[in-house]
Subunit: 752 residues, 2 copies
């Protein structure tokens, strides 16, 4: 500009006027965007600074974050040339960098200490210097290799976090510095993970959600409408092969949908259930909510939190409900056990949902357990809420989540009574992270597993184990049907274990009723897992004075066009105490089968059913007793299995199972109860109520229309449960004669 | 008496005077013994009543006990005809009865509510009515069957507790009631468990301690000198076969010693270590201390708490030191894991030791964790101490306990640094509950097992499992050498697994030094486990800046008269992360051997040592990483084992082990390090310091006199450790040339 002014002033006066007019207009346009504006706002920062020292949980988090960042600053800046998979040094270092950059950003805003801005600037320029000439990452395993990391996914993580840091020092940087960073680092970075990798970016998948958020957030900071549009709606002209697949075997893009809004639209059901399952929902929550918060601040007109009937806010509630008594997520599909609502992603999700939603006091009680908050406007809201003692307990009740964008692709139901929790999965495939386990369930008592879902076969980020990535046993064992508490036909997995087939189908909701806490029920059907075979599973959580704790009734009705071998496993956790049936241990152990997960099970012993036709296993786990009572046929085999065969690298846990094997059978019925009872203390050495209180289970009727089971307690009291198999309507009146006695009732089930 | 007074008053006046004189004299003699006098005293009761409501922990315990007893009173009195083993109803009911009777007794004294006295009286008379004609218990498994219970041991438990109840209502009962109870119940009861069962009573064994205390306590209450003498000194003329054995395979009475004092004298070492191990020490503490307290109150002249240099008081301290960071006892010999200083026996032991010892403020901190006290004079002392905030932390340090009555039969050493604990056993056999595991050790971090001692094979009081008694796998597996982290020669157990031989020998103390917390050392030798073979194991706990946490160096030197196969197992807890050696899993599993515990191990995989001769296993347990690095020879086999073969009733846990097998070797040296490092969180999914920091272990010298090991860290720093194998004297000056370098030092070891 200075060059212009060297010309004759008079000559150019009109030009100058015009120029200033344009410049002011331009600057105004620019200034409409204040910084920070993503997760912190100018107003928010002012409020926070005013209250500092008076908001205990915020102050404590701030102190911890400051200590962490100061320690990192003292260690110096390291941006090594990318080399490793997720368990290795360069991966861990770059991951740490982006986490610290984000934190340094908020510290700069809140504490207004320039050292944090300097640290961010220096590191950003190191990245800027490196990124220009950086080739694609040397590790080749990913379908979409990144540059900083081995996959674009992690590069996107980087940009989501670093955008926030950049936002925090945006105004502090000179225009020239910003221009350099944007030209050499941020724009090429955003382009690389999007237009250069459409197979990664243009999908409906948690990977793409990260990609969309990354591009969108840097777009918001830079006020780059092109990037924002690309974030919201995807790449318009990406022509992807609809049959291409990613590393996990999932389709890249079957239907052409893409962009952040499509990623909200598709995987979330109207109830806020995310089709991949809670572990990945947790992972995806961060980009969903952090980008939504940015949009809310910069583009409030989009009303992103109201999008699809406020599904983003609902999803936070859903996720909390998908955790056990300890806050650990149920490991449906690929899920690492132990991941919980104490994770940083859930701190983020919860704070943002509280701040941008209706300030649910239940969320505050979870935030209080988390004992940390985001150092931003939403974290401030939460901290103030806790300070003002607004919290109320978050009561996790029985709940049914529909799956599918329209809520019509089956679902996941949780029944809860006292300390007992049942998790029933009758959902869609759950994209590439889905397991082949239609109508499977798991059971928890007080946060301890009673019947487990194995979860994934992976040690996330532990380099020793396949670089911290998915292990091959995830496919050969963890995803297979036999790894779950559900029916296996002829030793094959549902949908032949094929994603192409599984992703076309879902189970069918039949019934859910939690209105009576003493009798809660869920029921669903599966007609496609094995062509020609229909499965219908009904689970009832009963509470009565006959039994110390709630018990579970499990009715699985199977109809098939031909005779099959059926295996129904129960992965009980703990040590065998007693059986009422005889079994023979094997002197040497062989795998139970050759394929479909069976090759990973040792056959420890095989039993013949009790002559009473009620076979029972009682076990002990963590000081509590449990009994499985199941109606068996004379020709059944009861197989004691143990995970761990064909496991050459000790990747699997040596967990136990009991498999009910029913050979050469066409239509059949499996009826079982899971009964928690009693306790044992290794300190007092008292064993209380160590035995089942069930005397007998008996099927008194089983037709196409009705199945009736009589449960008799040791005290001698009998209760009859009838389920209508073909009519779930509440208003229907049923009449039925069993053993010359007439039963009449309204609705899909009877119990008395 | 009233009949007398119907005669002519004048005639009998002198007689009356004489009568009254005699009566008063008689009554005075009787009154010398006040009641209560065992665990409560008249003075104590007065003090307690005065402070009620002002001693929080006592008041809280009182409230809990009152609720418990009131609930039992409401349920009515049940004294079923004895029938069951320890897991069954009649056993549990009678056990509950005696526990409740004792509690009702103290409630009567403290609350002075007669309903408790009435309850006790009524139940005692039900027992009185039953006992007279009660045959010996119908279950026949015990070498000394009781009447109320299947073994005299439990009958003795009954009397120890019921004596206290009787003491509390003694004065409240009429003389006639007392006479009836004593004649028909207490005296025959005391005789049955003593003179009628000398094989139970006249031993040095925890069984007899209970018997002695039972007889002695009822003797103190009844002021029966004969019983008291029998309690203190045993039955004088019991001629027992010195070769007879009990159910556990232990000798009944080898040396003729008997009585309470002999039971203090023999099994306790001068350091307060009880030869059977902490689990049984805990069990025995109750009769030892409760009877001692009674003696202290009634026979203070005996100075029982000063007996054998105050060994009873020392033993309480020893027991607390024999627990891990969670207060759980190390399961040396037969010990059920999970038993801890929160048990009722330890509440008793600690309160009595505090009250009758020197009021150690460290004990108060444990009492505060226990959060309950005895409702008696000693519990009152503790409660007052806590109220007055006298407690100081009980710091568990490294400690060496000598075993044997004279302290000369080996011992048990514990090395501690930060959160790491090593438990090294070089003790005597430990009577019939002893395991064949000379020079074995186990390792703990923060209360979690790193290398485990299997403990016992029993589910105490769980009826499902062999009536709650010892399972046969206790003998065939848990006691065997291969079940422990120590050397097995030619697949046989120490002393051929024979109690007769094992009980004649003990390991030899060589060295213990904990003066330098950065280098703590213990060393011992075993010359009798395998005739002709000498083992010398030296364990060093090192802390240095090279390693994140303390590490353990394990040097096991073996000399033998002939060539042998040596197996050295490491029962690591957790999941294999990585090895630096190749191994092949077995496609089917077979037991590792046929006998001596080997029949219970599955052979999962076998490896060949790393070509570097440093073989390494890294594993993960409860969020922490560990590495075992061991110097191997080319011909060694590395066997991955799993407990559970030949286990037809699922009595054993499926725990892992790594066995170093060295075939066809005469003299040899095993050198290993156990290195805890890093951590992993399933919430943050960060894996920190997941690999060993040891580059190399190298033996640079190994002669009869010296063994020298060089430890080189990944950072490249080397440290030399030398142990003098034949001279443990501190003052000796050693000179040694290794690789042309001279080393000179004082004392038994060198490190630099």
């Amino acid at each position: 500009m200075s060059l212009i002014f060297k010309k004759n002033k008079r000559e150019i006066k009109p030009l100058i006027v015009l120029f200033f007019f344009l410049a002011v207009t331009f600057c105004n346009a620019q200034n409409k965007i204040e910084h920070p504006n993503l997760i912190l706002t100018k107003k928010g920062v002012e409020q926070i600074r005013k209250e500092l020292g008076n908001i205990p949980i915020f102050d404590a988090t701030l102190k911890a974050v400051k200590e962490e960042v100061d320690a990192e600053i003292a260690l110096g800046i390291h941006t090594p040339i990318p080399k490793d998979y997720s368990g290795g040094y360069t991966h861990a270092r770059h991951k740490r960098n982006f986490l610290i950059l984000q934190k340094a950003g908020v510290l700069f805003q809140i504490l207004q200490d320039e050292k944090y801005a300097v640290y961010i600037k220096d590191m950003l320029f190191q990245y800027e210097a490196m990124y220009k000439d950086l080739p694609v990452h040397p590790q080749t395993r990913s379908y979409a290799r990144g540059k900083i990391f081995w996959q674009c996914l992690n590069d996107s993580n980087w940009l989501v976090y670093v955008s926030q840091a950049y936002d925090c020092i945006y105004d502090w940087l000179s225009k020239a510095e910003r221009r350099k960073l944007e030209k050499n680092l941020f724009r090429p970075f955003a382009d690389f993970i999007s237009v250069k990798n459409p197979q990664f970016y243009n999908r409906v998948h948690n990977h793409s959600t990260w990609g969309n958020a990354a591009v969108g957030m840097i777009g918001l900071v830079m006020n780059d409408e092109k990037l924002i549009q690309r974030a919201l709606y995807g790449i318009k002209d990406a022509n992807l092969d609809p049959n291409a697949k990613d590393n996990d075997g999932g389709f890249i893009n079957k239907n052409g949908k893409a962009g952040f809004l499509a990623n909200i639209e598709e995987p979330f059901s109207p109830d806020g259930y995310y089709t991949e399952g809670p572990y990945y929902q947790r992972y995806a929550m961060y980009p969903f909510l952090i980008f939504a918060e940015g949009l809310q601040n910069v583009r409030p007109d989009l009303k992103i939190f109201e999008y699809k009937d406020s599904v983003l806010l609902k999803s936070v509630n859903a996720l909390i409900n998908l955790s056990d008594a300890d806050g650990e997520f149920f490991p449906l599909n690929d899920g690492q056990k132990g991941m919980s609502y104490y994770s940083r992603e859930l701190v983020t999700a919860l704070d943002i949902a509280y701040h941008n939603g209706n300030q649910d006091p239940g969320l505050l009680s979870i935030a209080k357990q988390q004992n940390k908050v985001l150092l931003d406007d939403s974290g401030f809201s939460v901290a103030m809420g806790i300070k003002e003692e607004k919290e109320k307990p978050f009561v996790k009740k029985s709940i049914n989540f529909r799956d599918g964008a329209d809520g019509k692709q089956g679902g996941v139901a949780i029944l809860r009574n006292n300390n007992l929790e049942l998790v029933f999965k009758y959902a869609a495939q759950g994209s590439s992270h889905g397991h082949y386990d239609k109508l499977s369930y798991s059971v928890y008592e007080s946060g301890d597993e009673v019947l487990q879902d194995y979860g994934l076969a992976r040690f996330v980020n532990i380099n020793h184990k396949g670089g911290g990535n998915y292990l091959k046993e995830n496919k050969t064992w963890a995803k297979q049907t036999i790894a779950h508490n559900t029916l296996v036909q002829n030793e094959t997995s549902h949908f032949s274990g094929k994603y192409e087939i599984g992703s076309k189908h879902h189970s069918e909701f039949y019934l859910f009723d939690d209105t009576n806490s003493d009798l809660q029920i869920v029921s669903a059907k599966e007609n496609n897992a094995y062509p020609g075979t229909q499965m219908h599973r009904t689970l009832v959580m009963l509470k009565s004075e006959e039994y110390e704790k709630p018990i579970l009734l499990d009715i699985l009705k199977v109809n098939s066009a031909q005779k099959n071998q059926y295996d129904l496993p129960f992965y009980y956790m703990g040590q065998v105490m007693k059986t009422n049936f005889k079994y023979s241990p094997f002197p040497t152990l062989s795998p139970l089968g050759k394929d479909n997960g069976y090759q990973h099970l040792w056959k420890e012993a095989v039993g013949k059913p009790s002559s009473t036709n009620n076979s029972r296993l009682t076990w002990l786990n963590k000081g509590k007793f449990y009994s499985l009572t199941t109606i068996t046929k004379e020709t059944d085999e009861l197989i004691f299995s143990r995970v761990g065969a064909n496991d050459p690298e000790f990747n699997l846990r040596r967990d136990a199972g009991l498999i009910i094997r029913r050979p050469n059978t066409q239509n059949t019925l499996f009826v079982s109860t899971i009964e928690p009872h009693g306790n044992y203390s290794t300190v007092s050495e008292f064993a209380v109520n160590a035995s089942s209180s069930i005397k007998e289970l008996k099927v008194v009727l089983d037709t196409e229309e009705y199945t009736a089971v009589l449960i008799t307690s040791l005290k001698g009291n009998s209760k009859l449960f009838i389920v209508a198999n073909t009519n779930a309507l509440k208003e229907t009146k049923h009449r039925l004669k069993i053993n010359n006695k007439n039963y009449t009732w309204f609705g899909s089930y009877y119990y008395n």
